[in-house]
Symmetry: C2
Subunit: 136 residues, 2 copies
DNA sequence: CTCTGAGTTTAGCCATTGCTAAACTGACTG
DNA sequence: CAGTCAGTTTAGCAATGGCTAAACTCAGAG
């Protein structure tokens, strides 16, 4: 009877790009909030990746309309980028709070929430929110 | 004062490869269990990806010692591959049961668990297990 | 024993995400 | 105003994970 299961893993493909995009706009948002401005070198620090990789990734973010930047200039989020950053940060925070409410240690919760945040549907996110509130 | 945060996103890099490996050995394990044998075409069905992609990915799995296969022959898990498949399946099941225990609908739980399973630490997995048991 | 067709493999293309090495900019120092 | 140096960009390499088109294998039908 062959497989029985179907599709399902199909997300995996393009979603890795989405994850990276979300991580970047989140980081840019935070760095601008902290430093007033964001340079490539700040992102290289954040992600522990070479500045060259940053440069090209930022180029893709610009191509896709998430950031604005000029040669040798700072990196700024567009409206679209800011919107995505805020949504990602909110999701991230809920996942983190949820893990903490579940009794996970802070350091593990921080690490796991980074990975999990990109994979929670609105329904699950909502359930997490309710769980957190029930623990207040 | 620059960034303040540090590292943390460093997992993202090589982990995508690990995720794919886990998904593949899990699928191979299931297909062998269901059909008695696993062919490239079964995996192509499962992942909705061309058979050519399957072929090369299986090549990498073989290179890395997870599967054994000969040209035009079936695909079999090595001891190492079987071990990883079982561990992944167990983790997957716990995450799924956890989401269900949290009140998530079955279809969403199935979808989300696919994404989340690769990002839960042993500590979090344990907390999930306890949560499930507390609901019995 | 040939022929056909499902399944596999090879060849060759593209984008992404990593890297090092080398060239370039621009601002601050002397 | 020349030099230096941090930061940026360009050039070019590798591995991964996707694809189509074309060639090959092998088992089952005639």
């Amino acid at each position: 009877m062959a497989t029985a299961k179907q599709n399902r893993h199909s997300r995996t493909r393009s979603d890795h790009a989405t994850e990276l995009t979300e991580d970047y706009v989140e980081a840019i948002f935070d760095i601008v909030a902290a430093n007033g401005t964001c340079r490539a070198v700040d992102l290289a620090n954040q992600f522990q990746v070479s500045h060259v990789t940053i440069n090209r990734t930022v180029g893709r973010l610009q191509r896709d309309g998430y950031v604005e930047t000029e040669p040798y200039g700072p990196i700024e989020l567009t409206t679209k980028g800011t919107k995505l950053a805020k949504a990602s940060k909110e999701r991230h925070q809920i996942v983190l709070d949820f893990l903490l409410a579940l009794g996970i240690s802070r350091s593990t919760a921080i690490a796991d929430s980074e990975g999990i945040e990109h994979h929670v549907s609105p329904e699950t996110l909502n359930a997490m929110k309710e769980f957190i509130e029930s623990k207040d």
